[in-house]
Symmetry: D3
Amino acid sequence: MSVLPVNSLDTPRFCGIPTFMRLPQATSLEGLDAAILGIPSDSGAPFRTGARMAPHAVRQMSIMLRPINPYRDNINVFEKLRVADAGDCSVIPGYEIESLARIEESVAALVQAGLVPCGIGGDHSVTLAELRAVAAKHGSLALIQFDSHSDTWDKYFGGQRYSAGTPFRRGVEENIIDPHHSIQIGLRGSLFRESDISQSLDLGYEVVTTDDMYEMGFAKLAARIAERTAGRPAFVTFDMDFIDPAYAPGVQTPECGGPSARETLQLLRMMRDINLVGCDVVEVNPMYDGSGQITALLAATVMAELLALLATRA
Amino acid sequence: MSVLPVNSLDTPRFCGIPTFMRLPQATSLEGLDAAILGIPSDSGAPFRTGARMAPHAVRQMSIMLRPINPYRDNINVFEKLRVADAGDCSVIPGYEIESLARIEESVAALVQAGLVPCGIGGDHSVTLAELRAVAAKHGSLALIQFDSHSDTWDKYFGGQRYSAGTPFRRGVEENIIDPHHSIQIGLRGSLFRESDISQSLDLGYEVVTTDDMYEMGFAKLAARIAERTAGRPAFVTFDMDFIDPAYAPGVQTPECGGPSARETLQLLRMMRDINLVGCDVVEVNPMYDGSGQITALLAATVMAELLALLATRA
Amino acid sequence: MSVLPVNSLDTPRFCGIPTFMRLPQATSLEGLDAAILGIPSDSGAPFRTGARMAPHAVRQMSIMLRPINPYRDNINVFEKLRVADAGDCSVIPGYEIESLARIEESVAALVQAGLVPCGIGGDHSVTLAELRAVAAKHGSLALIQFDSHSDTWDKYFGGQRYSAGTPFRRGVEENIIDPHHSIQIGLRGSLFRESDISQSLDLGYEVVTTDDMYEMGFAKLAARIAERTAGRPAFVTFDMDFIDPAYAPGVQTPECGGPSARETLQLLRMMRDINLVGCDVVEVNPMYDGSGQITALLAATVMAELLALLATRA
Amino acid sequence: MSVLPVNSLDTPRFCGIPTFMRLPQATSLEGLDAAILGIPSDSGAPFRTGARMAPHAVRQMSIMLRPINPYRDNINVFEKLRVADAGDCSVIPGYEIESLARIEESVAALVQAGLVPCGIGGDHSVTLAELRAVAAKHGSLALIQFDSHSDTWDKYFGGQRYSAGTPFRRGVEENIIDPHHSIQIGLRGSLFRESDISQSLDLGYEVVTTDDMYEMGFAKLAARIAERTAGRPAFVTFDMDFIDPAYAPGVQTPECGGPSARETLQLLRMMRDINLVGCDVVEVNPMYDGSGQITALLAATVMAELLALLATRA
Amino acid sequence: MSVLPVNSLDTPRFCGIPTFMRLPQATSLEGLDAAILGIPSDSGAPFRTGARMAPHAVRQMSIMLRPINPYRDNINVFEKLRVADAGDCSVIPGYEIESLARIEESVAALVQAGLVPCGIGGDHSVTLAELRAVAAKHGSLALIQFDSHSDTWDKYFGGQRYSAGTPFRRGVEENIIDPHHSIQIGLRGSLFRESDISQSLDLGYEVVTTDDMYEMGFAKLAARIAERTAGRPAFVTFDMDFIDPAYAPGVQTPECGGPSARETLQLLRMMRDINLVGCDVVEVNPMYDGSGQITALLAATVMAELLALLATRA
Amino acid sequence: MSVLPVNSLDTPRFCGIPTFMRLPQATSLEGLDAAILGIPSDSGAPFRTGARMAPHAVRQMSIMLRPINPYRDNINVFEKLRVADAGDCSVIPGYEIESLARIEESVAALVQAGLVPCGIGGDHSVTLAELRAVAAKHGSLALIQFDSHSDTWDKYFGGQRYSAGTPFRRGVEENIIDPHHSIQIGLRGSLFRESDISQSLDLGYEVVTTDDMYEMGFAKLAARIAERTAGRPAFVTFDMDFIDPAYAPGVQTPECGGPSARETLQLLRMMRDINLVGCDVVEVNPMYDGSGQITALLAATVMAELLALLATRA
């Protein structure tokens, strides 16, 4: 099995069945460092549904991307890091709890084989399943969460405990997130209750709102992230609604007034010294993305930067 | 509370918060004969999701419709029948079984108050909840199902028993459908297994495929429906994928080669002598309907014909 | 000035600023038999607005069409008939009455120069302005109206007499339509009032509903049209909502259950012996037409058939 | 009547007939401080039409928003301020002047009952009608206009005095705007005539172009607005084309090169000491907004910030 | 390698990287009877471009389809016939002649290994390349062409001989089509020149226009096709513009007034006794297909019927 | 022939067959200073196709623009400069090399008549044809390229030398670009090979990446451009993917993280002292632009700024 992507100077991008960045499909896990895993679940979505179609949409746009990252010393990510596309895990639409179990199982297979799982969601509830599988190997994780919402509410809709709005409370309760080495970045917008932000602080998270982020500056924030995680096994979860809806219209719960794509990518490219053991990009909803599919492209670009971060570490 | 729709010759259709056919919103159930109830659930959808947005979309297009039905002696449906828009029932997205319970409760409130519930789904699994509520009052029901699929499979995805593909097996098992006075109309297309159609026959249903329907002719089919239900309390469930995707692109599982809108409406307009105690129109998915929203309009028109059928009986 | 369209075998259709069927733009009216005139007015639209963009959209799709009509003895329409694209008349959006005056003036310029005006609307109210200009020369006209609605209501919204719902009452009152040689074809769907259809009969029109049309058959209907107009100066007005919304989703007030494109074109191609002195195709709304723009293409095809009918007469 | 919005943690956002921010519908005006009023008129639109559909679209997206405003001391806007959704006023499409009269009448009913009217347009001409109604109670008003165009032209299309391009000249002429305490913010882009900007200055307005705005900085501009209005009864009119088309594509006359959503919201959140007696958000056109409907969401967010500004004052 | 599709009752359709009907990807050609081959070329498209995206779009919608065909004795197509998805051949966009060479080479690899190639185009020019490869093995072929245009023009745009408008003239000239056992079905619409249809007759083809087709009836036509091809090695080429644009809006050159999906599928299902050695479905253009992607679904359904025809023979 | 645009205060923008900014169509070249030329070719596009529809789309949106430029001393561009819309050149879709020849010929006709050609592409390969025609008169040109990619690769897809990825290598080889007075601005994103950027430097270009651009500041960059071109005959080529996809989603190869519209227009408005002998705006793809068509509007605005730059020089 070749571990290099198809070269788009030889074969047009639109030729072939699309995998992430035209990487080979995983036929075995042996010898791999990381794998892309589609997580097509939206059973946790309290509002706009359709994220089940996201892994496919993100793959489709990822074929635009090239292997060399000029922001990290021109490394060829896929020469440093053996990555394959492991396809999608299976889910059970309409059965949130059962879907989380299926997802955990698929991620666990990767983790137990020594790979870094790189998830493409899916609504944000899928991250809980990923964290369970990763923490089973690495212990309680430092979470780096990019998101315009905290997702630390307790219950939804008459008491449901599993939803896109609750994973980062559950993760603390389940001891798979170490909140004291975790950080939530990008909160903004109107609130349900006065305590919407303090509930994260109460759980032990550090919270950097969108306004804080601009005040602090991106370089300082990148340094702060490394400091906060302190070299512990870290998981980056990137909710696309972190970014302004002009750049990422195709999400479940858009929140006006976020950073631009350029600012977002700058921040990611400045990140250093993260002991990355897993990551995901979630909450792309292609139904709301228009024919341009710019949210899917940006999600693919975010994942490519996370792979570059991982390759730098490797 | 006025029981007549807003007159679109006086106030433009686009003015006001849209209810079904610009009917009054129900503030109490007293004195009403029937109520429109939105059922915004898509937790049972195994493929394309988004039917949670359908009640809203169907209401939006229903404002095109007028109260007089020239195909049934020019009756003014809303003078014969006191109908209000009861809004939507609540659901729990991602929790299919819990959502069915909430839906049943809402429908039961209407049925117990003596109203005929007229549901706007929602994926087809919601019909099971409606049938439970209606059968609680009227006993085992004669089902008249318009659908390109039988929806009588047993289980999905590792054993789940509740899904848009199973309600009409469950209904027979739960004794709320009397299959021997029930009929499934419009099956067509490729099959999962050889038994896909015979499984309905085995349960006791009469099955009229799309091909049968054309062979028989619409007038004869309308007569056959009345004969089959034989005056028993009947529930009409209309899955929009009964109609060809050219006329109804906005559905979960489109099936090419169905009847036209004109043929469909003719059949509905020919139906007589049905003891209608409940009905629904399901599986509209506005995300796939384009800016024209012709599926939503056709769904609204189908519901308006069912109301006229009910008014004729009244 | 050449009077032949650009040849799409020589120059790709997408090259050049689009005129109707790639005809030359009129720089003078001399020597012309007919002219295409865009009438970009939607001030008469009581519901969906945007028909102001229709002339442009119809031109865009008309570039698909070719000059030879195989349904009328393979005539080359533009060798028989010298036709140019006269561009658009000006209108005053938001000022219905003033817009009708501007439209009438533009059409009158063509009519007075001896041309047959071929209008591309615009909402249906624009036809009143065209009829005024044409009747000024030819006297009271035989109207052949294809439409799912009668458009013979009296007033809208607090007494407004000019709207897309009233032109064919106004035209009779103004004596520019001779209802006794006129025919309305295609009415269907739900009604505002019991009298919605009889109001046309009361004015003197012959009315052929969609159901009547199928009962009668298209050949007989085509003959009946010629009989009814009896050789008098006739104006064909074609509202795109005559056709089913599957074929013509991009209209102001779609009405489910209409004829197909094939049936419609067959009827038009069967028409003979019409003393055509003017025609229009109205109520295209490109905003609701999707990227395929099939309504605009069908409208262009209808106009091409009307030109062929005119060429046959010439 | 409850005065609190439906809680989206209990009932999913997509359930129910949407009102602005899920507020109760006004059944009486008693005891209310403010009301949302849809103004579905686009008869004043000289270019892209469809703003008649905007109140509905803005309500649809407003269900995303939550009641607590963290940018103004975490106030719960709807505990401070009793607000209801008063539905839409009626209009007469195609009759600009008559529509303005109907709008004025509806707004006057709110104002005379002591409410602050919060309009959701509609094209920008509707603001003239609102100003007439508000000034009837409060006298000549301080206008705070966010807009990329001045809308102080004199006439359009052969002399029409009422249009989306003229309200702020008419308002000065009618003495309902006090230009010397008014300010226009955000003008930019190409001009019809050299005098396009000076015409506003000549009328007495203060003008802050988009370039001026960046030079001045947002904090200073917020202070300048308060200074200019000097505590007089003020009306904020927010034309969505103030913002760059990337953030607000769904408008009538987009103008490239405007501020971002974040910059816009920052400016609104910095505004203090405004004696707000009325406000509106206008020129949303959902037909051009894509499936993401980000313009409608941003418009809803702008209105939520204006309500917070009002609540702060209250 | 399994030769059965993924079961959509076990794993949701939206899970996994989509292949045609969820068939296995070909890792070798050994033991296969037929292969799906995407041909993503649109360099031959004289009008709307984008068919390069079609193989992907058709695969995406083909996941709706199930393996059992009830119209041919409930055969499980993939038990009768070992089929795999061979991915896409490579092409060189903007280089028509070079692209045809690449396509021919890919098809030849399949044919030489004894497989029946089942192409998913691409514009109609790709069929010439397929015919070359298939005829190299089977000799001059009987062509069964479903198409609203003859595609037998000689040259385009200053003398280019290879284009979507010319393959069936070239094929006769190259002796890879035997026109005397070939048939063109579905021609309709306006013409460039009087000879547009006779040019096919002159080459030796039998021509059945859309009107002829209805006159003859579908059963008789199906018989006529078998008769015409007389058991010789036959190639079916299906241009999606054969069908009316309401059912197939996403094509390069839509032609109003064609058959419905139901009529089309009936005709295909009636076909018997064809010695099928190759087939394709071409001219899907997903850019014009709307979010419903009904053209892509219908194209997939057509291909599934061709596979069933092949399985029947096998 | 008038040389002034139609006044949008007199005639609504949507009236009439659209030319660029409503300029007169060129009937002769005499007396003109510059001409807009549509170049509807996408045969050089290696990925998303559809730029053949761009000239039309850009014209459509350009009708929003007004003649006075307030950023250059309120000049009326069309009083300073006699400009007409010369329509489109013809191309041969699918034949890249032949298309370049046709384009060169059309541009040469303008250049030889003393006009400055202002091209609206088309994929980026068309610029090579324009440069050939312009250099034939003015000699080796100073190129000012705004682009997120260098387009200096050598070959594509098995050796093709002409493509949207190669024109600025070919131009240096053909001696029609003087790289030592040329500058490439805006490169960013992932790379095919480590040498992707150095290949431009090796050819002699100055390269300013997106990151460099922000570091340098726009004013300094504007000055640097003038310095680099040093008064030599200069050609500005503007690839719309220079700008972030949020502002320009409708392009062939979007690259996340670019400048905003405001930043872009600021840079263009600061440019001075350029001896402009030709320019183009390329790579608009309306198929991916959504109903808002904001990319087309921004492209039209960029061209209007280039015309203003030219008018300033004149």
